[in-house]
């Protein structure tokens, strides 16, 4: 099974969710730990739409992060419809939008981090915002994992 965490820039909430999924973040990580996650910085425009593999979880599911860019939900539709055209089972590809987990701190930090003089405080503010979102992101990841856990029958997966 493939799990794709998406957000607008393929950065903060998607990377944090993927890191939680893969067990890279503890229950109370420091700001530095969060900011040091791979692919923490936003993707370039030319990378929008292409998922990046971050790793494989303990159940063998591959975990990806994806930047949607200005195309928004169309990216997920295109990804999923291509998957289905290939004859793959719909439940084998889980795409999770993490934009709802962006908060004011993360948005403001992302805005500031684009200014060279304010990049460092901006990045810390982003990490602070993500740390505040971690409980919600953890619940989201737990829900995803309950859908992707091996041994569940199809009916249970569909309920999730």
């Amino acid at each position: 099974m493939k799990v794709v965490y998406s957000c607008s820039n393929r950065a903060y909430p998607a990377v944090a969710a993927a890191a939680l999924h893969l067990g890279w973040l503890g229950s109370n990580p420091s700001l530095a730990e969060i900011a040091a996650l791979p692919y923490w910085n936003p993707a370039a425009r030319a990378e929008y739409g292409a998922p990046v593999r971050l790793g494989r979880d303990e159940a063998g599911n591959e975990v990806f992060v994806l930047g949607r860019g200005p195309a928004g939900p169309l990216v997920e539709r295109a990804l999923v419809s291509a998957w289905l055209v290939c004859g793959q089972a719909p439940q084998e590809l889980v795409v999770v939008t993490t934009d709802p987990y962006l908060n004011l701190f993360t948005r403001l930090g992302a805005f500031l981090s684009h200014r060279p003089a304010l990049a460092t405080p901006g990045r810390l503010l982003v990490a602070f915002g993500i740390r505040r979102s971690l409980p919600a992101l953890t619940r989201c990841v737990a829900q995803v994992k309950s859908r992707t856990a091996p041994g569940l029958d199809l009916a249970r997966r569909n309920v999730g």
């Binding site: 493939k2 030319a46 929008y48 739409g49 292409a50 998922p51 990806f64 949607r68 860019g69 200005p70 195309a71 939900p73 169309l74 990216v75 997920e76 539709r77 295109a78 990804l79 999923v80 419809s81 291509a82 998957w83 055209v85 290939c86 004859g87 793959q88 590809l93």
Partner: protein
Amino acid sequence: MHIIYHCYGGAHSSVVAAAIHLGLLPLPDASTAAVQALPYFDLHTSRDLGRLFYYGTDARGHAVFILGRARAAAILERAVRAGFSLAGKKQALLFVDTLPAVNWWMRIGGFLSRRLQWVGLGRPLVTYGTLHALPKLATLVRETLEQL
């Protein structure tokens, strides 16, 4: 190879190009009724943007699809390619942008019919525009076929 004809809404020029590719439209004298009777013509809504729709398989075995991609052609091309790649399919894909063949009648008619849902006004306009765009669309398809 899979051929994906794409335009803004996936409702007009990409549909007609796919139909020409598959020989579903009698050229050069296609009628209004023939254009309007094409599968998916002037049907897709904003909820269909980003989705691949299978249109048929040509005589050489190439599957033909249509795609509405709004203003995000490059991003959606990457996403479609990624979907095939995630599925483990090393499928050759050819993306053909049909928007250069679109004229103002089609833009205005398509906007009225699809965006505003004024189908009674928009559909005749977009069909009129499509009939005028047929030579360009036929050329586009011929160039596509030459690439295969």
